[in-house]
Amino acid sequence: MSQAVDKMLKLRENPNPPDVRGGVGVFFSGGALSCVLVAAIALFSLLFWRGAQAFWPRPLTEWKMENGQVFLVEEFETKADGSIRARIANREFQPGRLDFVAEQPELIASRSNPENAVRVERAENGPFHGYLLSEGLGDTGATGLNVKRPNGEEVFLPGDSVLRVQYPNQMSFFDRVGTWLANLGRFIIEKPREANTEGGVLSPLVGTALMVFLMTLMVMPFGVLAAVYLNEYAKDSWFTHVCRVAVNNLAGVPSIVFGVFGLGFLIYGLGDTIDHVLFGVGEGDPSIFGNPGLLWASVTMALLTVPVVVVATEEGLRAVPREQRDGALALGATRWEMLSRVILPGAKPGILTGAILAISRAAGEVAPLMLTGVVGLEQELPINAEPPFIHLQERFMHLGFHIYSVGFQSPNVEASEPLVYATASLLLVLVISLNLVAIRWRTKVRRSLQGR
């Protein structure tokens, strides 16, 4: 009897037991989400961790080898086969100019961290590891540093090639953090040096920013106007239907195809014509706009991103309620006044969404740029103090291509590997922060449209 009552009470406590039949669905969908999250976190942490390491001042370790050689190295990691990967530096003294080695630990007789070891960063030949003897005059009379190589040989480093002298083994943790921050800052504000293996990424950063800026200037008016025509002026017919399908398909065209178009039509077609007609460039003369350059790269990118702008803007236009259109017309607004004063402001969130998507896409896209104006190394920035200040016909550097070029085309792939991660992190940060700024702006606009 009392058992029956207990049972009833238990039933009462939980009158609606959870629906266990949904369990499989929850398991798979939740599992899929976790996988995505893990992948994203792994991507970000790998890039940022490896990228951050590029600027960390590592201690210098003196290796006395079994065969009598002496090296002063930055130790990087222990490889799978047990060997230690390390940077010897002093590139000009190494056979094959390779400054990275991987040695088995049993070949190293002793390892120590001498207090007075210096790393000298130089404008050429990468860093120098050794011991500082004195500042003085060289054989040619130039000022510079008298230094000793780890093996005892004395060398003279001319002063104009010396950038910085560091004593990494004397640094406290906070010194290292300070040096790390300084290195990070220099990475952003310095131009690349030594075939991109040293120095910063100012040129690719400026190139990317300028290209994206010009692309936005071109794509937004065209995309918005095209969407306005499709949505507001054109009657619903097979023609507008075909237009919409075509625009949507344009978004799916492989980006390298746009590059080919840019090269074939814009550069060789339009560019050559401009040269011929406006600048009188004849056969055999160096071409001005008939070459890949900033302008054509931006135009190509604008073509590539125009579909997302059109689609997002149409979405935004459709979100403006019919009552507001009627309201404007009933007050005696012409169609254009209705569009410009009520509908376009109301469609701003959609337009901004288009801009966000276009900018993110353009900042990260590389393939079409390789054909239309990006190069691996360009000393001059496309924007400088020389009139006309923005050099639209010049080739430029781009972060996305810089990653490829540093990682795979540089003469010293190992030395530049940390820079690949650092550059990739920077590109990621750039795209994410552009997105965040635009999303915040859109939220603000949306709020003001909702009267909050």
Binding site: E323, G327, A330, L331, G332, R452
Partner: protein, 289 residues
């Protein structure tokens, strides 16, 4: 503008109990005739209206609206009263594949003739819709929207106009300290009065109200009705309504529509006490509709 006395409105005598029906009717008829000659604002003649090239929504509508009056259009859903209202400021032009036959005259000018400027027509014939539709901008900018389209005003002129219109729509006291805040922060009833104020800012002759209270609570409805009463005499007001008490309360004359036809149009007291058509009587006594 709201304290102007409502005069020359012939509906008052007929409300009184009639001792000498013939004399009063003749008196009022002669006055009305005089008004028709001098004060007619809107006249439609043989008006037919078609949707989608062929579906006829209005049949042969003839109506005169005199200046300063409040006219209510009543009738069951789909009877064409809103369609007719929208022909008066050519809002139906925005619907593709529609066609108008017959005449609509505003101050004796056919508004469908090719040389009529629709923008100017809509400035003179303001409209307020069923659902409040303030633009997503400040209260101030909402009011100034129409005037900025049609003329150049200095800052102080605009300020004065905004205040005048908000006062005219009995909204000034509630909004004068937050003119710069978004119109969407107002309540539904306030938004609708804002829409009326916005229409007033264009200095219209005629105000078309398309079921202005159907989305509002009784309290806001009462405020709109008060407002209509205040505006009466200064503006010619045509109001479409489903609410017969509202029509009886606010209008001088009432028109009853059924299936796209104007069944009868008369003084409101007449319609609601002695309608001359059986359909009208059936509708107002609630037997259908």
């Amino acid at each position: 503008m709201t304290d102007t006395a409502v005069t020359d409105v012939p509906s008052e005598p007929s409300v009184k109990p009639t001792t000498d029906l013939g004399r009063i009717a003749a008196d009022s008829a002669s006055r009305r005739a005089k008004l028709e000659l001098s004060e007619m604002v809107i006249r439609s003649e043989n008006l037919d209206f078609f949707y989608d090239h062929s579906a006829q929504a209005l049949f042969n509508v003839d109506i005169d609206v005199r200046r300063g009056q409040v006219v209510a259009f009543i009738g069951p859903s789909g009877c064409g009263k809103s369609t007719f209202l929208r022909t008066l400021n050519r809002m139906n032009d925005t619907i593709p594949n529609t066609r108008v036959e017959g005449l609509v005259k505003l101050d004796n000018v056919d508004i469908y003739s090719p040389d009529v400027d629709v923008v100017e027509l809509r400035r003179r014939v303001g409209m307020v819709f069923q659902r409040p539709n303030p633009f997503p901008m400040s209260i101030y900018d909402n009011i100034a929207f129409g005037p900025r389209l049609h003329k150049k005003l200095s800052k102080s002129e605009t300020d004065d106009l905004v205040e005048q219109c908000l006062r005219g729509a009995a909204l000034w006291d509630e909004t004068h300290d937050r003119l710069k805040s978004s119109a969407l922060t107002l309540s539904g009833g306030q938004q609708q009065r804002l829409c009326i104020a916005r229409a007033l800012a264009n200095d219209p002759e005629v105000l078309l109200l398309d079921e202005p209270c159907s989305a509002l609570d009784p309290n806001s409805t009462a405020k709109i009705e008060d407002l209509i009463f205040e505006l009466r005499g200064d503006y010619t007001i045509i109001i479409v309504t489903h609410n017969m008490q509202q029509a009886a309360r606010v209008s001088d004359r009432t028109a009853f529509f059924l299936k796209g036809k104007l069944i009868e149009e008369d003084e409101t007291t007449q319609i609601f006490t002695r309608p001359s058509h059986d359909e009208t009587e059936a509708y107002i006594t609630g037997r259908f509709g």
